[in-house]
């Protein structure tokens, strides 16, 4: 057991290190921007004094390394600095800053996105694993070919195409679900679910296809192993072959597939949120990109990367835990 623990600790350390380096990459990338940001916020008519003031406010006059550690230290405490858009606004109105903190902006949207991802995962994971196992068991049948056709088509379609198709059929032609997800705080769960259902379904289509294909491949790979043949030749019933011999070994690849696809969700969520005007972190990110609101872009990027790394790490650790060779060392 100590063996496994060391490996997992190593992976955790490695994941943490990766995240740290990624934060450097993000920070450096952002600082590749031409220096006079304050100017671009205030526009052409700004006086040198106000530019300098804003630079000081945002800490832009500090050296790069100091700024990085300030930023990282803040980020670790949940303080991502203040949004440029909000900062300039605060400056003009003279109101107290603080209402414009990035963290405050992100927090509710982050919750919304997590909600969307959770709904999607709740639909997609059981559905995809079930279909994937089915396709593997009946491989090369008509069913297998048909699902192959549909999953390939779904993988190949951009998210916004699937989104508009769903809007067309489920919101416009048959007004069953709303096509705009205007979610606000304190909305009752039922209504919230209904409003999130179309974006969730769109994401489900994409993620299910990926997950199903990977599950199918993993199971087929497994069923071809000699110990499955051995179990059959021992006269074990087909059900028992699956449950007792295939499943314990299939768990690792399937969990891996799920984690990888949840990580994939992170990318998919951006486009889908924009289509459905879903107030999540993806939409905020795209808006900030357009307005070049750097602190928000930085923070969103870091959150996305962290989630992505975390999910991949989970996949890694799960497959280590379910490997009998590692669990029971020689």
């Amino acid at each position: 057991m100590g063996n496994v623990l060391t490996i997992i600790l190593q992976r955790l350390a490695l994941g943490f290190l990766t995240l740290l380096i990624v934060s450097v990459v993000i920070f450096v990338a952002v600082n590749l921007l031409p220096g006079d940001f304050a100017q671009s916020i205030l526009g052409q008519g700004a006086t040198p004094e106000s530019v300098a003031a804003i630079r000081r406010d945002l800490g832009l006059d500090q050296p790069l390394v100091t700024r990085y550690f300030n930023w990282l230290g803040g980020a670790l405490q949940g303080d991502f600095g203040s949004s440029f858009a909000q900062a300039s606004f605060a400056n003009f109105t003279g109101s107290a800053s603080g209402s414009g903190s990035v963290a405050q902006q992100i927090a509710p949207r982050f919750a919304n996105t997590m909600f969307l991802a959770a709904v999607t995962a709740a639909i997609a994971v059981p559905f995809a694993v079930f279909l994937g196992v089915l396709a593997a068991l009946y491989r090369n049948s008509i069913f297998d070919r048909a699902t192959n056709f549909f999953t390939l088509s779904s993988i190949s379609s951009p998210e916004f195409f699937l989104a508009y198709i769903l809007i067309l059929f489920l919101a416009v032609l048959n007004p069953i679900l709303p096509s705009v997800s205007n979610i606000y705080n304190g909305m009752p769960l039922g209504e919230r679910l209904e409003k999130s259902l179309l974006p969730a379904l769109t994401l489900t289509l994409v993620v299910t296809a990926h997950m199903m294909r990977m599950t199918r491949a993993a199971i087929i790979n497994l069923l071809a192993s000699p110990y499955i043949e051995m179990a059959r030749l021992k006269g074990v019933s087909p059900m028992r072959v699956i449950v007792r011999h295939a499943l314990p070994n299939a768990l690792a690849p399937i969990i891996n597939v799920i984690a990888i696809n949840l990580a994939y969700l992170i990318t998919g969520v951006v486009v889908v949120e924009v289509v459905f005007v879903y107030p999540g972190i993806g939409q905020l990110f795209v808006d900030s990109v357009k307005f070049r609101d750097i602190p928000v872009v930085q923070a969103c990027c870091l959150i996305f990367a962290a989630a992505y790394i975390l999910l991949n790490l989970t996949a890694d650790i799960m497959s280590i835990l379910s490997n009998p060779r590692l669990r029971h060392p020689k």
């Binding site: 990624v22 809007i167 951006v270 990027c301």
Partner: protein, 398 residues
Amino acid sequence: MMWFAAFLLGLAALAFAFRFAGQVATGRAPYFRDMTFGVAYGYLLAAAALIWLVWAYVQGRSPDPLVANKFFFLRVAIEGFIFFTIAAWLFRILGRNVGTKQTKRLFRSMPLTAAFGVMIILVYIFVAVFAGVLAPYGQAEIIRGVPANIMPGGNVAMGGNPDFPLGTDQIGRDILSRLIYGAQNTVGIAFATTVIAFLLGGTLGFLAATFGGWLDQVLSRMVDVLMAIPSLIFALLLMTIASVWAPRLGIPQTYFMILIIAVIDSTRVYRLARAVGQNIVVMDYIEAAKLRGEGLGYLMFKEILPNATAPLLAEFGLRFCFVFLTIASLSFLGVGIQPPLADWGTMVRDLGGFVNFAQFAPMTATPPLLAAGAIALLAVAVNFVVDWALHRSSGLKD
């Protein structure tokens, strides 16, 4: 909901009857004798779906415009599916009888989906190359004396114009022409990006595989870090920066996009090239060549590369799809290919709102769906071909 559950239950009963009838009718032939209930249920489910599709198609042909409108898109989808199936089938027959010996043999073992893929790819190449000839107007041409926002469909009564079958956009450009030019821009840019990504990632990957050691370590760790950031997110971040630099340096933003996506994507190519390269490098014939005293150039180009072409080609298809979809997404989000270049992703963004009018006039919803569909169609086609190629190279594995 209740109704749907009752329907599923009814099907279950029918499935039981179906299996029993099959057993009786065939005198307990092994197929029906060993059929599980799930399989029987699956057959009935498929049959029900088929019947519903036929019903929907008939509805789409209904004389009542309200009903017909409602099923218009389903009808078009079904017709399109049948049309493409027949076209792919004819194309395969053509391929089996025309061409060199090798291509004929290739077509003989080709499934219909792959034939469809090859056909679509050829059509796209044709349209992309001859876009200037095929399109009635220029991609950025604001046509004089023609109003903006002409309704698609060419029906004058509905606010259309037969000269502009897909209408005009908000500043009076011909949508059909822009759709055709989109093939050139969207596909061309994606292709160029993929090529750059391959040159970069492939070269570094093979170098890492051949040399190993610190070069491999450094490159691989760098790639690990880059791959730890989701690619679309990273692309968006870098595009933000590029959008500031582009006007200052006077370089079109699109060039930045090509470079950024190529670099991000080359990490995936690097991984594959390195893995493929490593599999080849451990072969005894490489050892024999090394022991002979061969130089790096000979090893790379004569011994390793020829053996890596098959997996790399398949990967090229997959990467192309990925790049193509990423660029489309970026354009859709407004930071990809920049106007005045006509591009499908941007078109979907600009025209997407029209989907909401589909209820009253189905044709109004077609331009965004056509643009998005054009993206999907090419990606599907490439994926079908790659799927077949991978299946072929894996041989009898499954």
